[in-house]
């Protein structure tokens, strides 16, 4: 489905809050697909000013932190972007 051209390895990430987590002013970012998922978690942690952020895909599960974002995008992206859900307390346990 989402055929990323080899020239452009950037992936569009859409952050979606859940529970009582604040909505980010900047809820859409582009990131190099070769980066690890942990980079997005660090990003959220910084933006939210929290040590603890719970991060999910498909409103369901937490992927391995060291998975490449391109792989996750390919597997779980919809309409060319990867929706990343975040919460301050565990959701979808």
């Amino acid at each position: 489905m989402s055929e990323t051209p080899a020239a452009d390895t950037k992936v569009v990430i859409f952050f979606k809050q859940t529970g009582d987590a604040p909505i980010l002013k900047q809820n859409k970012v582009k990131i190099d697909g070769q980066e690890r998922f942990s980079k997005l978690v660090d990003f959220l942690r910084k933006k939210l000013g929290r040590d603890q952020v719970f991060v999910y895909l498909k409103e369901a599960f937490s992927p391995a932190l060291d998975e490449r974002i391109a792989v996750l995008h390919e597997a779980f992206g919809v309409d060319g972007r990867l929706v990343v859900n975040y919460a301050l307390t565990p959701a979808w346990g």
């Binding site: 489905m1 055929e3 990323t4 080899a6 390895t9 950037k10 569009v12 990430i13 002013k25 900047q26 809820n27 859409k28 970012v29 582009k30 990131i31 190099d32 697909g33 070769q34 980066e35 690890r36 998922f37 942990s38 980079k39 997005l40 978690v41 660090d42 990003f43 942690r45 910084k46 040590d51 603890q52 952020v53 719970f54 991060v55 999910y56 895909l57 498909k58 369901a60 599960f61 937490s62 992927p63 391995a64 932190l65 060291d66 998975e67 490449r68 391109a70 792989v71 390919e74 597997a75 779980f76 565990p90 979808w92 346990g93």
Partner: protein
């Protein structure tokens, strides 16, 4: 349920367990313990029984159990059989000689262990990921009643196939064709270990990836293990030979890691921090309506110094299923794969299946309780 699945669930590994010497606070010599751990269960299922026999020797305080094999702390979220295939199978070590610790948790190497609840959560997040891959949604797993989840978990820990399969059958997770006419996808988790022989001293030599692999080729034929592995292998090999040293991989669910405080230490320290840069050089206004979007550029520290290797990697990462294998990596990967089968260094549930076996069939027979097909490949020579 088949004979093969049954054998797979009945298989257990004899484990010899010693208490870490520096944790003995008694004059009494700690006993050496022997257990059988089901391959489909987790090492931590041994903890209650081990603790019963060792607790009187431990110093007062909290017990945070972890296992070590030849100085390598073992990840608690990986099924016991997969861990064995990864660290001990090449030397066919039997019994599997492990050290059990209850103190000095190696939190730089392992995700924080929050007791059995953490193990359970890690299992379910993995099961949900597999469900998303197979059915496009984890709805059925998430809608399970709390009691049913607990039952399922108990069956996994005790490795009871019969009741487990009944629950799984009711969840209806078997891979089906996806929306948009995409063929069914198989959830696989591949561990590639570079270098054989000797003991693993860290996870830096292991790369791991979880992903869907389509079960049917474009012509409708079943994708074989070989077809599934070749592109992935090309990616892993190129990836790890390049400048990308972060292949050191920790399969830690983000939630669990995020829950531990100093967690950045767990995920490769060499990555620069995220910088939301305003640089617009990559912006393509026409293609991407970037309203309020920031470009997230890799920090300079994360810039790939191995640019030479990335084109190959890119081309293979797009070939999620088959066909297009990176030009350079293809022959190398083929040789590697054939050699590892000949030498039984390709392990699925402790066995070496033929490379022509259909991936979907292997998954149906040999998947782990979390519905992933775990594949361990020792790629060194």
């Amino acid at each position: 349920m088949t004979d093969i699945a049954e054998q797979c669930w009945r298989a257990a590994i004899p484990v010899q367990l010693r208490l870490a010497e520096n944790e003995v606070s008694s004059l009494e010599h700690p006993p050496v313990l022997y257990f059988l751990v089901p391959r489909q269960s987790y090492l931590h299922s041994l903890v209650p029984r081990a603790l019963q026999m060792l607790e009187h020797l431990l110093p007062p305080g909290d017990h945070v159990p972890w296992f070590e094999h030849a100085h390598l702390p073992l990840k608690w979220g990986v099924p016991a059989g997969v861990l064995y295939d990864l660290v001990a199978a090449p030397s066919a070590e039997l019994p599997w000689r492990l050290t059990i610790h209850f103190r000095s948790y190696p939190d730089r190497l392992l995700a924080a262990y929050g007791g059995e609840a953490a193990l359970r959560a890690s299992f379910f997040t993995s099961l949900k990921e597999a469900a998303c891959i197979c059915r496009g949604s984890a709805q059925r797993v998430m809608e399970m009643a709390a009691g049913a989840q607990e039952d399922l978990w108990r069956q996994v820990v005790s490795s009871s196939l019969q009741p487990y399969s009944q629950v799984m059958a009711s969840l209806q997770l078997a891979p089906v064709a996806q929306r948009g006419g995409r063929p069914p996808a198989i959830p696989i988790r591949l561990y590639v270990r570079q270098g054989v022989g000797g003991y693993l001293s860290s996870y830096e030599d292991i790369s791991v990836t979880s992903r869907p692999v389509e079960a049917l080729a474009a012509d409708g034929s079943a994708v074989t293990l070989r077809q599934a592995l070749l592109p992935l292998l090309a990616e892993c090999v190129t990836g790890s030979r390049g400048a990308d040293s972060t292949a050191a991989s920790l399969t830690v669910p983000a939630t669990l890691l995020a829950a531990s405080s100093g967690s950045t230490t767990l995920v490769g320290n060499d990555r620069g921090s995220l910088e939301a840069a305003t640089a617009s050089s990559d912006a393509k206004p026409a293609a991407e309506p970037e309203v309020g979007a920031a470009l997230v550029e890799a920090g300079s520290g994360a810039a790939e110094s191995g640019d030479a290797s990335s084109p190959a990697r890119d081309s293979t990462s797009n070939a999620a299923g088959h066909d297009e294998t990176g030009v350079g990596g293809a022959t190398e990967s083929t040789c590697l794969l054939e050699a590892s089968v000949a030498q039984r260094r390709l392990l699925v549930a402790g066995t070496t299946p033929p490379l022509d076996a259909p991936l979907a069939w292997l998954h149906a027979q040999l998947h782990a309780p979390d519905f992933f097909l775990y594949i361990v490949l020792h790629a060194g020579r």
